[in-house]
């Protein structure tokens, strides 16, 4: 399994993690060695096996559609790096000219 620089750039963008180009060669090696280990799974035939998505064979419990939480915005926003008038602030996403 070999990864191209282009693949790495794509993965990093999907994961929204900036990666310094200088670390590409070492990172590529590390990821490739994991993929090599993972390839061991190909040695077994799993055609008729039912995938196991979860360790417990339970159904999700349902609850009544009732409000159980009180409005706790101030407390919950205490950790926000940048806020204004109860809103989370992010860089502008809409162009003024548009």
């Amino acid at each position: 399994m070999t990864l191209k620089n282009k693949d790495l750039e794509q993965i990093a963008y999907l994961a929204r993690i900036n990666i310094n180009k200088k670390s590409f060669p070492s990172l590529k090696k590390e990821l490739e060695s994991i993929l090599e280990l993972v390839a061991k799974m190909d040695s077994v035939n799993t055609e008729s096996v039912v995938p196991m998505s979860h360790p417990l064979d339970i159904s999700q419990p349902l609850r009544k559609d009732e409000v159980t939480e009180k409005d706790d915005r101030k407390n919950l926003q205490k950790n926000a790096p940048l806020k204004k008038a109860g809103l989370f602030m992010v860089p502008k996403v809409i162009d003024e000219d548009a």
Binding site: I11, A15, K40, T46, V49, L56, P61, P91
Partner: protein, 410 residues
């Protein structure tokens, strides 16, 4: 008394009940010991001196009033993965190095409802990813038995602090061995309970189909006390099991004569160092003396577990850790020029190398065109491994194996 830390939880509870000593004395002796010893070990990220003394005083009051709770006045520590209201909760990461949790996890709530005194929050591998406690943003943890050796991970701080006598017991979590391996490396009892036994509400998520909270203690008896306090159904966690919690403390002394232990031949055909083989054989002999039958069991797909883990854990981690975006809480990069730059630099600067590697692998495994080959394949292989265990448990009650292939490493 200088040597409170040598007492078991049962002995501590007896001393408190009989007023031989107070929770305040007990708590202060632990806090002093932490001050004296933890510089060398680095097992705590946060020590909660004032809060601990306050809750010790409340415990003493309850003992006086005759309304003591099951673990009243027992000083414990929480892994810094369990959200604690009004307390720094970092998960060992720069990303959460300023996060003061607005609420408490159910595990933390359960221990306070049982009267425990919380001494502090323990160090850990960043986001519970690692097995040597070297990936923590707050520095590596040393093994108390031998400095400069690792305590194991990811619950390395919890293991080191209990092993050094800096808490009567500590909470921990396990996704791929993070309770069991540090227990082995620090000479402790560690329990990763059945998935669903312990609520995961407020336990910072890594790989949700594997994560489970448990305990690290000096003995099985201590573990029984701790596990009893933390277990139980929680309506806030939809994966929590709605079944009765056995009285572990009562059951732990029951006769085990006639039970059957299975030895997976795959684990014993590995190249184990002499000293590991010797100690595992000694424990088998002890069980045999207690009247337990021993037989071989077969887990033919067990060698697939590591490849499966390296798909499922990173895949689920890449989804869970997408919440750290520099917007709602946690670290945020300086002067982002646009939204993508905010996300990408926040995550570049806030996560350590191991966490980033796992997110990238997971993102790849889940990306278009690769899902079937990796994640779906891993879920199918996981079924084969689980079936192996179900088959083995048809003929035996327990499975015994070495916890780790070797002892602590430098």
């Amino acid at each position: 008394m200088e040597e409170f830390y040598k007492l078991s939880i049962k002995e501590k509870l007896k001393g408190l009940t009989e007023s031989t000593f107070s929770s305040l004395e007990l708590t202060e002796s632990y806090l002093q010991r932490i001050k004296k010893v933890d510089k060398k070990i680095n097992s705590f990220i946060t020590v909660l001196e004032d809060k601990a003394i306050e809750s010790a005083r409340e415990s003493d009051k309850r003992y006086k009033e005759g309304s003591a709770l099951p673990l009243d006045g027992i000083p414990i520590a929480h892994k810094d993965i369990f959200c604690t209201e009004g307390v720094l909760t970092t998960c060992g990461s720069k990303m959460l190095s300023n996060f003061v949790s607005p609420y408490s996890s159910t595990v933390v709530e359960n221990f306070s409802a049982n009267g425990s005194v919380v001494l502090g929050k323990t160090n850990m591998d960043e986001f519970a990813m690692g097995s040597s406690n070297e990936t923590s943003y707050f520095g590596a943890v040393n093994n108390p038995w031998r400095g400069n050796y690792v305590p194991g991970g990811s619950s390395g701080g919890s293991a080191a602090c209990v092993s050094a006598g800096l808490a009567a017991g500590a909470t921990a979590t396990d996704t791929g061995g993070s309770i069991r391996q540090p227990a082995a490396l620090c000479g402790l009892t560690g329990i990763k309970p059945t998935y669903g036994r312990v609520s995961r509400y407020g336990m910072i998520a890594f790989a949700s189909s594997l994560d489970q909270g448990g305990v690290l203690t000096k003995s099985a008896e201590d573990a029984a006390y701790m596990l009893k306090a933390m277990s139980g159904h929680d309506p806030k966690d939809s994966t929590s099991l709605n079944v009765d919690v056995p009285d572990f403390v009562e059951e732990i002394t029951e006769d085990i004569k006639g039970l059957k232990i299975g030895l997976p031949k795959q684990f014993f055909s590995m190249d184990l160092p002499d000293y590991v083989e010797k100690s595992i054989n000694e424990s088998i002999k002890t069980f045999e003396k207690l009247g337990v039958q021993v037989e071989d069991v077969d887990l033919p797909h067990i060698d697939l577990s590591l490849p499966i883990y390296y798909v499922i854990a990173p895949a689920e981690c890449s989804a869970n850790l997408s919440r750290y975006d520099g917007v709602k809480f946690g670290y945020r990069c300086e002067d982002p020029k646009d939204l993508d730059d905010l996300y990408m630099r926040t995550r570049e600067e806030g996560f350590g190398a191991e966490v980033k590697r796992r997110i990238l692998i997971g993102t790849y495994a889940l990306s278009a065109g690769y899902y079937d080959a990796y994640y779906l394949k891993a879920q199918k292989c996981r079924r084969l491994v689980a079936d192996d265990f179900s088959n083995a448990f048809k003929s035996v009650d327990f499975i015994l194996s070495p916890t780790a292939p070797d002892t602590a490493f430098p």
